[in-house]
């Protein structure tokens, strides 16, 4: 497969930017919302003659920066970056982001150390056996202050913990979206209906990651020659039509 986007590893825009700068240059200095949009559209137009590697990476950078900018533009919300990049000179904007990324990277590093510590401590077990018979009666009245609702919460949380544990044991973690799997699901929908709109594919109130992965899925299908894409005008819905061999429904 030509490109691969690890959505499950996405821990926020800083994390993603770090991953991206590890791979290639990212020109933040020149980024503005309209520019990102223009570039995106320009890229989509030239998509058929471009390497999809570049296109998908670009999309991610664009999404990242948009997220940073959106966060800094929202009134009353927490300002993740602190200032609006557009108000700064390119040099200032870059330095600001470098400082943020370096600070974030430091915590990312120490988080690795903490994880290692936690892992090694988790291999040591404290005694859970409780008291021996002769001492049990000496324990204070532990139920003082306990309410029925408190008891219900304890029981529900236990069941929850167990559910999560079993779920993870089955390797059916909910968070990551597999691009391969999602692409296959889109292919199957198409095999059934022939033509479908992008908005229908993602459904109402779709999570951003679902929109992204669905978009990547139709790009992948396009690359393999399994679908035709049509968008009549800017920001219009994308019409996806199945074509060619639709094997393995």
């Amino acid at each position: 497969m030509g490109y691969r986007v690890r959505i499950e590893a996405f821990e926020g825009p800083f994390d993603l930017l770090l991953q991206l700068v590890a791979r290639q240059k990212v020109d933040v200095a020149a980024i503005s919302v309209t520019e990102v949009t223009d570039q995106y559209l320009a890229y989509v137009e030239r998509m058929h003659e471009l390497d999809l590697d570049v296109a998908s990476d670009f999309l991610l950078v664009a999404a990242t920066l948009l997220e940073i900018k959106a966060a800094s533009l929202l009134p009353g919300e927490d300002h993740y970056v602190g200032e609006d990049i557009d108000d700064l000179s390119p040099e200032e904007a870059r330095e600001l982001l470098v400082a943020r990324l370096v600070a974030y990277k430091q915590f990312k590093n120490v988080a690795v150390e903490l994880a290692a510590r936690m892992e090694s401590v988790s291999h040591m077990h404290a005694r859970q056996a409780g008291l021996e018979e002769p001492f049990v009666g000496l324990m204070p009245d532990y139920l003082e202050g306990l309410t029925l609702r408190g008891l219900a919460v304890i029981c529900a949380d236990l069941l929850h913990r167990r559910e999560v544990f079993l779920l993870q044991a089955e390797h059916v973690a909910a968070a990551p979206i597999s691009l391969e799997l999602h692409t296959e699901s889109v292919a199957r929908t198409l095999a059934r209906s022939g033509t479908v709109r992008f908005t229908e594919l993602v459904g109402q109130d779709a999570l951003p990651e679902v929109v992204v992965v669905t978009f990547l899925a139709i790009l992948e299908l396009y690359k393999c020659g399994r679908v035709l894409l049509r968008q009549d005008s800017l920001f219009d819905d994308i019409v996806v039509t199945a074509c060619g061999p639709t094997e393995g429904t």
Binding site: H125, R127, Q128, A129, G130, L131, E132, E133, P134, F135, V136, G137, L138, M139, P140, D141, Y142, L143, E144, G145, L146, T147, L148, R149, L151, A152, V153, I154, C155, A156, D157, L158, L159, H160, R161, R162, E163, F165, L167
Partner: protein, 211 residues
């Protein structure tokens, strides 16, 4: 020699976390060791603790080995337990009580399955406090003892019957858990009679399924 130390260490670790007497055969099975060697090692270990005048001892009782505190220090332990903060709730006891309240009648294995840890000592402390009692046996689970809450439990919380317990689904932290709770506790309303033998019917099956 190396292997001896390792086996001894593994046995000690196992006994340390164990909540109940464990037979030499069971230890051997868990550690994938030779039963004869394990039995011998257990005896040596018991002697070692005795000779070194440790604060704990290893004793064989009721068909298994278990670590106990040394009786010579029981006064000190009493002092210690009495000094425990009354308002510090023992999470283990609360959890076991909550599970019994909502899953009753339930076996020890059923409680363990929900809590994810062994609960024997905790259950006996609840029994001792008169909050939980033995109520018959689960015939389909090797005659395991079934536990229910007591009248004292109801009175403590001002309940007329167990039907008045707040519905557990309402407290589920997410939908998946809520569905799981509905599935497990759902079906016929929980109307537990004091009739001990009839207690182990449909609900006991549900419990067995969790194990």
């Amino acid at each position: 020699m190396e292997g001896d130390v390792r086996l001894r260490g593994a046995i000690e670790a196992l006994l340390f976390v164990s909540d109940e007497p464990v037979s030499a055969a069971r230890v051997a099975k868990i550690l994938e060791a030779d039963p004869g060697t394990v039995a011998k090692a257990l005896e040596v270990l018991a002697e070692e603790y005795r000779d070194a005048e440790r604060g704990f001892q290893l004793r064989e009782a009721a068909g298994g080995w278990r670590l106990y505190t040394h009786p010579a220090y029981h006064d000190a332990i009493e002092q210690y337990v009495l000094s425990w903060d009354t308002r510090r709730l023992s999470q283990a006891a609360l959890e076991a009580l909550a599970v019994i309240a909502y899953h009753q009648p339930v076996t020890r294995a059923g409680i363990n399955a929900v809590r994810g840890v062994n609960s024997e000592a905790v259950i006996s402390s609840l029994v001792e406090k008169g909050l939980v009692r033995e109520a018959g046996r689960d015939r389909e689970a090797g005659n395991a003892i079934l536990y229910t809450t007591t009248k004292a439990f109801l009175e403590k919380f001002g309940l007329k019957s167990l039907d008045e317990l707040p519905p557990l689904e309402e407290f589920a932290p997410d939908e998946r858990t809520e569905a799981a709770i509905r599935e497990r506790l759902g079906g016929p309303a929980r109307s537990f009679s004091a009739d001990e033998d009839e207690a182990s019917t449909a609900e006991a099956d549900d419990i067995a399924e969790i194990d």
